[in-house]
């Protein structure tokens, strides 16, 4: 099958467009999250989304309307993770674990006491990169713009708190505010992007491009750019390889990210060996 033909399908065009935008924004956010030891926040917030979607369905709010419940709940949960790390002196992974477990149990409880639903909850929860509609491409583009503009505005503040929180505060950075901005941007991205491309893709795109870039980057700026490049390229490559191999697209994108990560580790080893030799 040739390239032109593959590109003639509307769903492929939309997958490439929305997928790349989401991948780039997840990869960039991921660099900050990995450095702040909040790598698993994507999975955690996805579980909270499951819980909040159960609330929404119990209130008879479907698809788009369910966001009215999910968004505020997940934003609050993200702040909850932050508060747990600050006030209860928990590590990020423990805080995420707590919030995620509570989220999923609320979902399971509601699914049981609510007397069931009109639809299967799980099947509505996760999108698929191949089933993105025109409206959702616009949502993805809007999300991309919002996240990128905020990251641009707060870039140095985010860099400062990731580097060292004490030093950041003495430089006049409002560390609590900036941390809140970071996790809330993540929450927004998880809630919206999960419905578009599914949670497996989101959580892996928050981690893998960032850790690969950390292997190779020679500056913070380069790290961000490398992560964004890997995220974007992995989606494009994943869609085409999925076409050639007839394997599921999301899983293929994750595997390509893993491949990139292995290559980064290899290159880093080579550089280290050469420097020693």
């Amino acid at each position: 099958m040739n390239l032109i033909e593959i590109l003639s399908y509307g769903f492929i065009q939309r997958a490439l467009l929305a997928g790349t935008l989401i991948a780039v924004l997840c990869s960039v956010l991921g660099v900050f999250l990995v450095l702040r030891r909040l790598s698993l926040i994507g999975d955690g917030l996805a579980h909270v989304t499951f819980g909040s979607t159960a609330i929404a369905l119990a209130l008879q709010l479907y698809s788009a309307a369910s966001l009215l419940v999910s968004l505020p709940v997940v934003l609050l949960a993200s702040l909850g993770i932050l508060k747990l790390t600050e006030k209860a002196r928990l590590n990020g992974d423990a805080a995420i674990g707590i919030v995620s477990a509570v989220g999923i149990s609320i979902g399971i409880m509601l699914a049981s006491v609510g007397g069931g639903y009109n639809v299967d909850l799980l099947s509505y929860l996760f999108g698929n990169i191949l089933s993105i509609s025109y409206e959702e491409v616009i949502i993805a583009a809007g999300l991309f713009c919002v996240v990128m503009v905020l990251l641009w505005l707060f870039f140095h503040d985010l860099l400062a708190i990731s580097f060292n929180e004490e030093l950041a505060r003495v430089s006049g950075v409002r560390t609590n505010l900036i941390s809140a901005v970071l996790v809330m941007l993540t929450a927004l991205s998880v809630v919206l992007a999960m419905k578009l491309v599914g949670i497996m893709l989101i959580s892996s795109l928050l981690i893998l491009p960032a850790v690969s870039a950390l292997q190779l980057a020679r500056s913070f700026r380069a790290c961000i750019v490398l992560a964004a490049l890997q995220g974007g390229c992995s989606v494009v490559a994943g869609i085409f390889v999925s076409f050639l191999t007839n394997l599921p697209t999301s899983a293929m994108i994750v595997m390509i990210n893993l491949l990139f990560f292995c290559c980064s580790c290899g290159v880093r080893r080579l550089i280290t060996i050469r420097n020693i030799g």
């Binding site: 099958m1 593959i6 399908y9 509307g10 769903f11 492929i12 997958a15 399971i108 699914a111 049981s112 007397g115 069931g116 639903y117 009109n118 639809v119 299967d120 909850l121 799980l122 099947s123 509505y124 999108g127 698929n128 191949l130 089933s131 993105i132 509609s133 869609i239 085409f240 999925s242 076409f243 050639l244 191999t245 007839n246 394997l247 599921p248 697209t249 999301s250 899983a251 293929m252």
Partner: protein, 320 residues
């Protein structure tokens, strides 16, 4: 499955305590208690039971069978019941572990699919011609299609199996149960006849489904050429290539409608339909009912009548 086992052990523990506490207060109903897993079984069993036994359904409304996790109450219900009905081990692989620890002397377990001729390899690829007229998309060889109730002769066989259970557990009411079962089988036969006639003269026999493989039995019985987007396993996801292939299939077959399954998210179906420029029609797999349908008291035959209406529309069938 490990997680499910844990849940069950916990649930049984809680249930034992629970049952012990509430035994005195709750007066034991003299009626036979029956628990059925999925909707078709529940509907058949309650028709056969009439007013002589109480039938409940295990799955909460709207839920896909594979998302099911038992609650302590479910275990209590089963432990109190005299009969437990499930479809088959392919549909409810969790049934077996659910029944572990139950008193099998008191509880009669009915495998409603006993004696049914299962479709094998249905989810094999396009080159698999073991079962003419049935093509799934992807999947693994040797996959068995568990949706047996969608072939109404199988449904009648399931009615027989359930009836045998009732007679064994409650022989005193055997005649009553037999009468109800005979009525139900008559209605199923009539339904089968309406399908046969309704689908006899259609503009196309290509039945395209933008979801997981479900309607293979139905298609085989009425000589339709069934293609689904993806295989039986609800975890499987289609590849980009399979999506494109399906779009070409829709276009080349000249159909005007693509089918989606009720209760499940129609995202992928909608995408395919938009791509190929066709409309979407819903069919009910009948594993379960939505909450609203439960309240309306919809039955299996009602669902199938609605399916026939949509199928006839989708395949452009003419009335005789």
């Amino acid at each position: 499955m490990k997680r499910l086992n844990m849940v069950i052990i916990l649930a049984v523990a809680v249930a034992v305590v629970f049952a012990g506490c509430s035994r005195q207060e709750q007066k034991e109903s003299a009626k036979l208690q029956v628990v059925a897993t999925l909707f078709p079984l529940y509907d058949f069993a309650r028709t056969i039971a009439g007013d002589r036994a109480e039938v409940t359904m295990l799955l909460p409304p709207g839920m896909e069978p594979h998302s099911f996790e038992p609650k302590p109450n479910d275990i209590v219900r089963i432990s109190r019941a005299g009969m437990f009905i499930y479809t088959n081990r392919y549909m409810e692989p969790w049934a077996e572990s659910l029944l572990k620890g139950m008193d099998r002397q008191r509880l009669r377990v009915v495998d409603a699919g006993q004696g049914v001729q299962y479709l094998q390899n249905v989810a094999g690829d396009e080159h698999d011609h073991d079962v003419p007229g049935n093509h799934g998309a992807e999947g693994h060889a040797g996959v068995v299609d568990p949706h047996i109730w969608l072939d109404f002769s199988n449904a009648a066989l399931m009615v027989d199996n359930i009836l045998a259970g009732f007679i064994a557990v409650d022989p005193a009411n055997a005649a009553y149960y037999r009468m109800n079962a005979a009525g139900l089988k008559g209605r199923l036969a009539a339904l089968d006849q309406r399908y046969r006639e309704g689908l006899a003269d259609c503009a196309t026999r290509v039945f395209l489904h933008g979801g997981h493989y479900t309607f293979g039995y139905l298609a085989r019985r009425y000589g339709l050429e069934y293609h689904s987007l993806s295989g039986i396993s609800s975890e499987s996801e289609p590849s980009a290539a399979r999506m494109a292939e399906m779009v070409r299939q829709i276009r080349s077959s000249g159909v005007h409608y693509l089918f989606a399954e009720e209760l499940l998210s129609p995202r992928l179906t909608d995408t395919l339909a938009a791509e190929a420029g066709v409309a979407v029609l819903k069919l009910h797999g009948a594993h379960n009912l939505g909450k609203d349908d439960v309240q309306r008291g919809v039955g299996f035959i009602d669902l199938m009548e609605q399916n026939l209406v949509n199928l006839r529309k989708g395949l452009a069938c003419r009335s005789k």
